[in-house]
């Protein structure tokens, strides 16, 4: 099956999350090898990646896995506990400077925990989820994970031509409401 790097209707959530686990492993390596400001920057990226990834798993993947196979509840509870523990260590690290002598030992401990957690997810949770879930639903989950991780657009809404247009204090919301009411009414009338 074709695997797509940037989404698509047939994307598989398990493939997507495994790719993110690989990126997390890489970011840990970057923090370890960089120094000074570079290390600080790499650590910021790692924090962001970890938090965004775990939040999306909690929101979309764990709830589905819970219901997908017998024993899913326990498997997911264990993963949630690991995620909570990692968050504690991450918070400790976030309060330290990268030059602190405790930083690297704590980071390595976090790396071991996070990679063990990712491995458990892949072996105990994702593999079962994949076996028990229709490809159509795995694709929907991928879409939901991508939505949860989306960043704000860098292009203006096509309806807004210039920066000044955004300053026109107009009831655009009301306009949408009116448009929606009109469409609803039109649709209702046909029933």
């Amino acid at each position: 099956m074709a695997e797509r790097a940037h989404g698509g209707a047939d994307e598989n959530v398990v493939t997507l999350l495994k790719e993110q686990h690989r990126q997390i492993r890489e970011l840990f390596e970057q923090v370890e090898t960089a120094e000074g400001e570079g290390r600080r920057e790499a650590f910021r990226k790692l924090v962001r990646m970890l938090a965004v990834h775990e939040t999306a798993e909690e929101e979309v993947v764990h709830p589905t896995a819970r219901r997908a196979f017998p024993g899913g509840d326990r498997v997911v509870d264990d993963r949630l506990r690991e995620e909570r523990e990692a968050k504690e260590v991450l918070s400790e690290l976030d309060g330290m400077d990268v030059d602190d002598p405790d930083f690297m030992p704590t980071l390595r401990a976090l790396r071991d925990d996070v990679l063990a957690h990712a491995d458990s997810e892949e072996r105990l949770e994702f593999s079962r989820l994949q076996e028990e879930t229709e490809p159509r639903m795995l694709a929907r989950m991928a879409k939901a994970v991508r939505a949860a991780e989306a960043v704000a657009p860098t292009h203006p809404h096509p309806g807004v031509e210039s920066a000044t247009k955004n300053l026109v204090l107009g009831p655009v919301t009301a306009l949408v409401d009116r448009a929606r009411d009109a469409v609803r009414k039109a649709m209702g009338d046909r029933h």
Partner: protein, 174 residues
């Protein structure tokens, strides 16, 4: 047909996170961002419940952050194009509803329950626990965003509509 609300959601969450910026480090800002994003997601699903509603707002445009920026007292001055771009995707009413949900646990629970079978959930049992069951880290990361007094003016902007929507959903289900 598919109407993806994620540009509106991501931009509106970014507006909230910046307007009520957490003071701490990288972790605080991403944890605050996650709470804002979940609240905005629930608010957007509630406000634009069907694929049709979502399609319309994405075509017409969510309105932008101008009035919110003014309300928040942000002096943006001459903003550059990049900063202007994402602000055009901000939805004022959704930001207001999200602020109401972040500062009122019971309202948040009611809203999450109301969107449980939303078209936008794609038939998945999604959970918004960073919104409904924040842990100690979440609370510390977003003290301003969750402070009822600090978000009161924003939450108040469209509060009546939010309550109306939740009531209507309730009667509908009953």
């Amino acid at each position: 047909m598919s109407a993806d609300l994620s540009p509106l959601i991501a931009a509106t969450a970014q507006w909230l996170t910046r307007a009520y910026a957490p003071g701490g480090g990288a972790l605080d800002s991403v944890l605050a961002g996650a709470q804002a994003r979940q609240a905005v997601t629930v608010a957007a699903w509630l406000r634009y419940p069907t694929v049709l509603d979502a399609g319309l707002v994405m075509v017409a445009g969510p309105g932008g952050s101008a009035r919110l920026d003014w309300l928040a007292g942000a002096d943006l001055g001459e903003t550059d194009e990049a900063d202007h771009a994402w602000r055009t995707w901000v939805d004022e009413a959704v930001a207001s509803w999200a602020a109401a949900l972040l500062s009122d646990r019971r309202l948040a629970a009611a809203a999450v329950a109301a969107v449980g079978d939303s078209d936008h959930a794609l038939g998945l049992p999604v959970e918004f626990r960073r919104l409904t069951a924040p842990d100690a880290h979440d609370g510390r990361a977003a003290p301003l965003l969750r402070h009822p007094d600090l978000v009161a003016s924003l939450a108040g902007l469209h509060r009546a509509e939010l309550l109306g929507r939740l009531d209507a959903g309730h009667e509908h289900a009953a």
